[in-house]
């Protein structure tokens, strides 16, 4: 068995909050860590991870630790699979981007991430046997226009929700997905944020899925390149 120091999140060094965790502190920052058996991370099934795959189990464990800290303090989640070369390395990591990490913690403090996915409504099926060539073309034009309208509506939803959020980020999307976005929202403004999503997507007739609340995974774009 080979052991490694797995790092979950950077947070503020608050000994009361972090009592239940193993953490390494340095100048007001703390890194929440655990000794892990690295053998658990080898040979994962990456092609089609199922709900009960080892990868899914590890990822859920990672998420559980991040969330447990997130309930108590603002967090900067580290990417899955971050294993450090011991406690000294952890201190060097915290020292390397000290000011930057503190600034990022202020930035996400009191805020949670919400995901929003908007799909195109499924088009009504056409029975080609009953449709003349002209009618078919007219219908096809109507569909293309409707698809363009739906894309525009989804962009409008994203703009509106961005104005209700502290930060937003839009992912690439394909197929019937019109919008795949994440928003960092002040906890005090969440009720308004959700009311606005319901109102807008309801008005526009767009099927929407909300996920969250999440720790600020999508809003921790920080790189510790060197230490």
């Amino acid at each position: 068995m080979s052991l490694g120091l797995y790092a979950y999140v950077i947070t503020r060094d608050r000994p009361d909050s972090l009592a239940g965790f193993r953490s390494i502190a340095h100048r007001g920052l703390a890194l929440v860590v655990a000794e892990v058996d690295l053998d658990r991370f080898t040979g994962l099934d990456l092609d089609e991870p199922t709900e009960d795959s080892r990868l899914a189990v590890l990822v859920r464990e990672h998420d559980a630790v991040v969330r447990a800290v997130f309930q108590l303090e603002p967090v900067l989640p580290l990417r899955f699979g971050t294993v450090l070369d011991g406690a000294d390395a952890a201190v060097r990591l915290l020292g390397a981007r000290h000011e930057e990490a503190l600034a990022w913690l202020d930035r996400v403090d009191g805020r949670r991430e919400w995901g929003l996915r908007v799909r195109a409504a499924a088009p009504e099926p056409v029975d080609l046997r009953d449709v003349s060539g002209t009618a078919y073309l007219a219908q096809r034009r109507r569909r293309l226009t409707a698809a363009e309208d739906a894309r525009r509506a989804a962009s409008a939803v994203h703009r509106a929700m961005t104005s209700h959020a502290a930060e937003s980020t839009c992912r690439d999307h394909a197929g019937d997905l019109l919008l795949e976005a994440a928003y960092l929202v002040d906890t005090g403004r969440e009720a308004d944020f959700h009311a606005e999503i319901h109102r807008l997507t309801g008005e526009l007739g767009l099927p929407a899925e909300i996920t969250g609340p999440w720790p600020p995974y999508s809003f921790t774009k920080l790189e510790f390149a060197d230490a």
Partner: protein
């Protein structure tokens, strides 16, 4: 109307594996196995979608 769904595995993988602070350099263990996970997961996530 929007639906509140339990986070799917895809949403979770997208965030836990593809987002978050990245640590490079000599503080990180360069065990071949762990580095390999990283590379493989990057490939995996191409199929999941994200702003890369």
């Amino acid at each position: 109307m929007p639906e509140h769904n339990a986070a799917s595995l895809v949403d979770l993988l997208d965030r836990v594996v593809h987002r978050g602070a990245v640590v490079r350099g000599d503080v990180v263990i360069t065990l071949a196995g762990v580095e390999l996970i990283r590379l493989d997961l990057r490939l995996l996530l191409i199929g999941i979608g994200g702003d890369r």
